[in-house]
Symmetry: C2
Subunit: 367 residues, 2 copies
């Protein structure tokens, strides 16, 4: 609201909280909107697949390989991704990234089933000795599966978690080239050790857990030393600067199998159906309750093994923004480059990078 001198009746809005019955109706309707939107998204996916396949073929053509398609898209990516790409990561991307494919991997061919929020990233890299001095993988495939988990708080209340579950993916770094400085390997080692022990193992008892924690502490200390007081306050959700983007491949999220998730989704759907029918459901969700704290603790213990906690947000930004708009970002990368003489290096002039998300395509590509 712009300021002017008239008295603001915005102040009239003063009801302290949503009436309970109204709140219930709103939640129910919101739930139906979410379901309808997922259904639409699901149907849309098979329709767009052939277009993405044609785009991929175009990107794989010699003309566009010579024209650095994906490196240019990444160089011009939105701030929320770009801020996690170190200069050393950018070197690898610009030299070695040949193609990227993002698929809604859980949706079937007809768009009739599967969660459309699940995504598979297939990064393709150059492999020649000269072309890729960093690692030997020709492909890195990373999947994020959207899952649901229902648990009880210590006081017996129902708690519904929704989010991504992912398996860490190892990179075969060449000697002395590991940009993650052993962090990704440690995360993969822990995951594999847990798999060997089987479900129910307390990961904190494993030697690989100790090793990962040590690596995380080292990375954190090193980043602190590197960054000093220069940078703005670190995002709480993220290790302070200096951690390689390639730790993205180590993300795990919560531990929920596809079967557990399917059962939880079924339980949720039946619960909403009951509410819709006006039937009573046995227990309330614990939303807006201070018992949330207990759950937060549980989620924090998951987070301590996360070497790159922002990976789920980055996955969403890549899948929902960069992937559908890749042609636009690519074309813009030339406009930015051409404007560059006029603009000087704004990044150096601008202290407060975090705030300029709005004028996105600007200022990224250095020519």
């Amino acid at each position: 609201m712009s300021g002017d001198e008239a008295p603001s009746l915005w102040e009239r809005i003063s009801l302290p909280s949503i009436p309970k019955e109204v709140g219930r109706k709103i939640s129910q309707l919101e739930q139906e909107f979410v379901r309808a939107e997922l259904e639409q998204l699901r149907k849309q996916i098979p329709v767009l697949r052939p277009l993405y396949a044609r785009r991929n073929a175009l990107v794989a053509s010699k003309e566009l390989q010579d024209a650095d398609f994906w490196p240019r898209v990444f160089a011009n990516a939105p701030q929320e991704i770009d801020e996690y790409i170190l200069a050393s990561d950018a070197a690898v991307i610009s030299q070695c990234l040949k193609n990227l494919t993002i698929e809604r991997c859980d949706v079937d061919e007809n768009g009739s089933g599967g969660d459309p929020r699940s995504v598979r990233f297939t990064f393709e890299f150059a492999t020649g000795e000269e072309e890729n001095p960093y690692f030997t993988n020709a492909q890195l495939v990373k999947e994020f599966h959207y899952r649901t988990k229902i648990s009880k708080t210590p006081k017996g209340k129902r708690h519904v978690w929704e989010g991504y579950v992912s398996t860490p993916v190892r990179i075969n770094w060449k000697k002395d080239q590991d940009l993650t400085k052993g962090l990704l390997d440690a995360a993969c080692d822990l995951y594999e050790a847990e798999q060997k022990k089987g479900a129910g193992v307390d990961r904190t008892t494993l030697p690989e857990y100790e090793k990962l924690i040590t690596k995380l502490e080292e990375a954190s200390a090193e980043a602190d030393a590197l960054v000093g007081d220069e940078e703005e306050e670190a995002d709480e959700e993220y290790l302070p600067g200096g951690v390689s983007f390639f730790n993205f491949f180590g993300y795990r999220g919560n531990t929920v199998t596809a079967e557990e998730s399917a059962a939880a989704e079924k339980e949720e759907a039946e619960r909403w159906q009951k509410i819709e029918n006006g039937e009573k459901v046995d227990d309330e969700d614990d939303e807006d309750d201070d018992e949330d704290d207990d759950i937060d603790e549980e989620e924090e213990s998951i987070a301590t093994i996360e070497i790159f906690p922002a990976a789920d947000d980055i996955a969403v930004a890549l899948a929902d923004d960069v992937w559908p708009n890749a042609l636009k970002y690519y074309v813009q990368s030339y406009e930015v480059a051409n404007d560059f003489d006029d603009e000087m290096d704004i990044e150096e002039l601008d202290d407060d990078e975090g705030e300029d998300d709005e004028d996105r395509p600007a200022k990224k590509v250095k020519t």
Copy 2:
């Protein structure tokens, strides 16, 4: 890209411009993506209609009328809308706005035809003497039709315009209550005079045109005086502060009839089909050509009769963000209100309002 000490190979990306043939293939593919997305959007609309109807019924219920549904949503709207709402506009909205319906008015019942970007806004207001001291309209209905216009530049090159066309809507203000200070009436008067004269009239020869220009100059001078040096630099696309949000109803956009637009769309579709078939099209678009200047002038002459040039962007923000997320904005308005004691009045502390779009739901509702 975060800074660290390694040399940046982002600099390797140095091709000066997109190879012509590649550029053509990209435009073609982009065109197909746009078509596919419009098609999806079109199909989605009939599916969501019943849900929106149920939401509207809920909003119209006594419980939610008492709970100020739409006033709360507006009070918590994203910055791009909120910045155009003066305190005096907010007073009217919070006291009188009873309901708002946004429809994709050009899409038929089956989602098989019509442009899904066209939108109709139906604002419903209280009408009692006490309930609405401002104007007598029980409803204000404003339509934005998405249209295409193909024209030739003075040098004979093809130019394609796409955007909104709208008819100004008069508000019957009560005595001395006109928040637009005659601007909206002047815009409606000009439009009606043009309609009377029929197609092809040069509007600049009409006395109503002179009158509108005078009103615009008055509003601009008054706003300058009111604002002084305090505010940040005015957005070029918008009159400097102090202009009522209710001028939104005066928006016109370009002058294109539904028939002209249908013909232009057909021409465009056929042209793209030819390109797809590898046939030669007779004339190139004039993109990236300095002849654009000629067109800009033409568009500027349209803009001089626009009393609220941001209305098309606001229409998109309302239709694509506020309308689908209204329940969320409503629920958030309570959270904001409850957090408010802790947060103090951040708006007063924060000089640089324009930059905080990111943390959207915060700081809007004053309790």
